[in-house]
Symmetry: C2
Subunit: 163 residues, 2 copies
DNA sequence: TCAAGATTGATGCAGCTGCATTTAGTAGGC
DNA sequence: GCCTACTAAATGCAGCTGCATCAATCTTGA
C-alpha cells in the first residue's frame, strides 16, 4: 500500500493545493479591499436571488452550496444580522423556515459580482486562453469525485458559486 | 470593469475551487481515519526532517511552508506539546530559537507518508494518467502568481508538502 | 554610543469550522 | 391515539485562522 503515487500525480496534487490557495486568497483579498464580505456570503446571496420566489429552505441552500447543515444555519444568522435576508416561518412544516433575500441583499450581490468577476478575470481569465481554461476544466472534472457538473451557462450570467 | 471573465474562465475558477476542496477533504478524511493529525503537521514534520541538522528557525519554516508567522508559532506549539519537536535556544540571536524534530516526530512523518501517499494515489493518481497529470501541472502553474516552482524530484522520495 | 527602525516570536481577540448534541416537529405503524 | 423513527434547524464546545499588537533583541547610521 506504500509509495504508490507517481511523481506526476504527486506534483499535480501539490499544485492543486498551492495554486488554489493562492488564487482563492488573491480573490478574497480583492473582495476585502473593495469592502465586501467573504465569498461564502456571495454564494448564499446568489442562490437566494436565483430562487424564483426569492426564498429557499435552509435545507435547499445547504444542498446547493454543498456545505454542512450547521454551517448554513450560521451563515443565515449572519446574513439576517446584516439585513441581507430575513427568516420567514414555514406553515407547511413548523420545524422549518424560509429564508428570503432582501433588496439590500440583492443589491449587495450585484455589487459584489462586479468586484468578484473582475477578480476572476484578473487572477484566472487573464492568465489562460479560453481553450486552456476548457482543458483545465476537463482535467479537474476528472478528479471531481462524481460531483455534479456545473453548467457553464448557469454561471455566466450573474455570478459564480465557489466550493 | 464589469462582466469581464469569459464563461470558460469562470468555469475553470469554479472547478478549481470545488475540486480542490473535494480532494483535500477526501485526503484529510483518509488521514483522520488512519488516526493521524492534519496535513499541516505533516508538512512541518517533513520540512524539519529534511533540514540537514534536523532543526530550523521558525522563520525558515514559515518561508518554506508559505504560512503566516503566527500560524507557524502555534503549529510549533502543538508539535512540541505532542513531543514531535523540541524548542532549542538560539545562541547567535537571542530573539530567535531553533526547532528540532524528535525521533517520535520522524517516525510519525514516515508513517503518515504511508497513508498520505496512498490517499494521493487514490484521489489523484488513479484518476489521471501521468501525461494528464503533467498537463494539469502545466495549466495550474500558469495560474500560480509567480509562486516558486516545486521540483517534482524533491517531492517524490519522501513526501509532499501541501499549500 | 545611542536612538530609530527592523526583525523574531508570542499572544489576546474575534470569527469561522467541525463535531456532537439538543430541541422541535413530522410521519408511519400498530 | 401513541410509540418509534426520522428530519429541520440551532447550539455548546474545541480547535484553527487572521489581525493587530506586544516584548525582546538586533542592526544601522549619525
Amino acid at each position: 500500500m506504500k509509495r504508490k503515487p507517481s511523481t506526476e500525480a504527486t506534483a499535480a496534487w501539490i499544485r492543486l493545493m498551492r495554486v488554489q490557495s493562492r488564487v482563492l486568497d488573491a480573490v478574497e483579498q480583492d473582495l476585502k479591499k473593495g469592502g465586501f464580505p467573504p465569498l461564502a456570503w456571495y454564494d448564499a446571496l446568489l442562490e437566494l436571488s436565483r430562487a424564483p420566489t426569492g426564498e429557499m429552505r435552509p435545507v435547499e441552500l445547504e444542498k446547493q452550496m454543498l456545505i454542512p447543515q450547521y454551517s448554513t444555519s450560521r451563515l443565515i444568522d449572519r446574513l439576517v444580522d446584516e439585513g441581507l435576508a430575513v427568516r420567514r416561518e414555514c406553515k407547511m412544516d413548523k420545524r422549518g423556515q424560509f429564508v428570503e433575500i432582501t433588496e439590500t441583499g440583492r443589491d449587495l450581490q450585484k455589487k459584489m459580482w462586479g468586484a468578484y468577476s473582475a477578480a476572476i478575470e484578473k487572477h484566472v481569465g487573464s492568465k489562460l486562453s479560453d481553450a486552456d481554461a476548457l482543458k483545465l476544466c476537463g482535467l479537474l472534472d476528472r478528479l471531481g469525485c462524481s460531483c455534479g457538473e456545473v453548467k457553464a451557462a448557469s454561471a455566466a450570467k450573474e455570478g459564480a458559486p465557489a466550493r
